[in-house]
């Protein structure tokens, strides 16, 4: 229990440190706002349109594939701890599980979801 409390305190300490630094910056720095300063930076040219435009769907695709595989990794941690108790049967089960995921991986690969270059 004491360990978890310490991690929590460390979170608070980190947050406080960051907050104090930002607060000092706001407090000590000058504040002379002007329309030019509050414009988004676009290399000196006047900003064109809103920044929140449509983005490539690839980013969402990668996020979804990541979720699937990351859950796989989350399963592997407890398995790694229990490997010696489970022995070869446990090993075979995880290899079969990996085989299932491999099918999905090959599908994703063949569909081109992992290709970020120019369209072929």
């Amino acid at each position: 229990m004491q360990g978890w409390l310490s991690i929590f305190i460390m979170l608070i300490v980190g947050l406080a440190f960051g907050g104090i630094m930002v607060g000092l910056g706001v407090l000590l720095g000058p504040s002379k706002p002007s329309p030019e300063k509050s414009a988004p930076y676009e290399c000196g040219m006047p900003a064109v349109g809103d920044a929140r435009e449509r983005q490539s769907v690839k980013f969402y695709l990668v996020a979804m594939i990541f979720l699937l595989f990351d859950i796989e990794v989350a399963f592997l941690y407890p398995w790694a701890m229990a490997l010696r108790d489970l022995g070869w049967p446990g090993f075979v089960q995880v290899v079969l599980f990996m085989g299932l995921l491999l099918t999905g991986y090959i599908y994703v690969w063949r569909k081109g979801a992992l290709d970020w270059g120019a369209d072929k």
Partner: protein, 350 residues
């Protein structure tokens, strides 16, 4: 100290560890800025900072002071709350992730304490999970910064960064499962202790890097990508995206992003040292000498030097190359490494 009530030394020790870790990380980040500039300068046949303090050692502190007195700019169309929350998220997660990393063997401070004190803020039995759980929260800060700024470069940088970090997170997380299998523990202290071995009373290296060379390579590569460092520094590819997600940040909010990046580098190096490089163990140095924490710091320092070395040696990847490398090479390699390790452990009965 036995005349004191038992909990007091523990509480003082704990508070001391908070201070050591907090100040240590801040100064490690400042030191890394100096090392980075000096090393870069030497590699380019320059001398680097020399004016502020001996060998320019006080340069990072001068930079922070300067930044503190600069105006804090915020784009007019930005989301104020998220804009200020983002650097805080980055810095907080960077600090908290280090809290479970042991920086040396338990010590009595040369007999000052009755009970040996652990050189880490929090000793939990799933330290490996905690480091990665907290450290990967840092991506929220980057995404928030990119989105809240309402600037095109920031948004692109934030998106790129999140896609890159989650892509490499997989191989990052999987590359160390081999070590977990070998050590049969998720506590960083126990993993390090599993690497200490002696033959005829002489300590020798039984580091996991020798049993897991591929795992170490994948861990380090993915770690460099996770911390957005060259040759994977796409979020801030200055020739393409100005400064990526922190384009619109100035003054101390900008400094916090920098601080978080350097602390994350230190954390990755420290975890790599604990997992693969034997932590505070070194051949021919018996633990009774009590210099374990120095050995640990030297190993972390060597890895950090390597980090900067890589940056000034390798050119940046192209973005499609980065994603292809992460998904099509690093991920299968880490799976193969994992299965081979598990089979090896079962077959040889390690």
């Amino acid at each position: 100290m036995s005349f004191l009530l038992p909990p007091y030394p523990v509480i003082f020790g704990q508070i001391a560890m908070f201070l050591v870790v907090l100040l240590g990380l801040v100064h490690a980040a400042a030191g890394m800025v100096w090392v980075e500039r000096k090393e870069a300068a030497r590699m380019q046949q320059r001398v680097g900072p020399t004016r502020v303090g001996p060998f320019g050692l006080l340069q990072p502190f001068a930079d922070v002071l300067k930044l503190m007195f600069k105006e804090n700019l915020k784009p007019g169309a930005a989301d104020t709350l998220l804009f200020y929350l983002a650097p805080l998220v980055c810095a907080t997660t960077a600090f908290a992730a280090f809290s479970v990393v042991p920086i040396g063997p338990a010590t009595t401070l040369l007999g000052l304490l009755d009970e040996p004190m652990k050189l880490q803020v929090a000793d939990v039995n799933v330290a490996v999970l905690v480091v990665f759980a907290i450290a990967s929260m840092g991506v929220y800060g980057i995404v928030l910064a990119g989105w809240a700024s309402n600037s095109k470069y920031s948004l692109l940088g934030g998106l790129r960064s999140s896609a890159q970090m989650i892509s490499y997170e997989l191989s990052y997380g999987m590359s160390l499962v081999g070590v977990l299998i070998l050590a049969n523990s998720m506590s960083l202290t126990e993993i390090v202790d599993a690497q200490g071995a002696s033959l005829l009373g002489i300590p020798h290296a039984r580091w996991y890097i020798f049993l897991q060379p591929l795992g170490f390579l994948i861990f380090l590569t993915a770690g460099i990508a996770e911390t957005n460092r060259a040759p994977f520094d796409f979020p801030e590819a200055e020739q393409e995206l100005v400064a990526g997600y922190h384009t619109e940040y100035s003054s101390m909010t900008f400094a916090l992003f920098f601080l978080a990046e350097y602390i994350n580098m230190v954390t990755v190096s420290a975890v790599a040292t604990d997992l693969f490089l034997g932590g505070w163990y070194f051949p021919f140095v018996p633990p009774s000498w009590g210099i374990g924490w120095l050995i640990f710091l030297a190993k972390v320092g060597a890895l950090l030097f390597f980090y900067v070395w890589i940056r000034w040696t390798l050119p940046r990847y192209r973005y499609d190359q980065l994603m292809t490398f992460g998904w099509k090479i690093l991920l299968p390699a880490s799976v193969i490494n994992l299965i081979a390790t598990a089979a090896g452990v079962l077959y040889f009965g390690l």
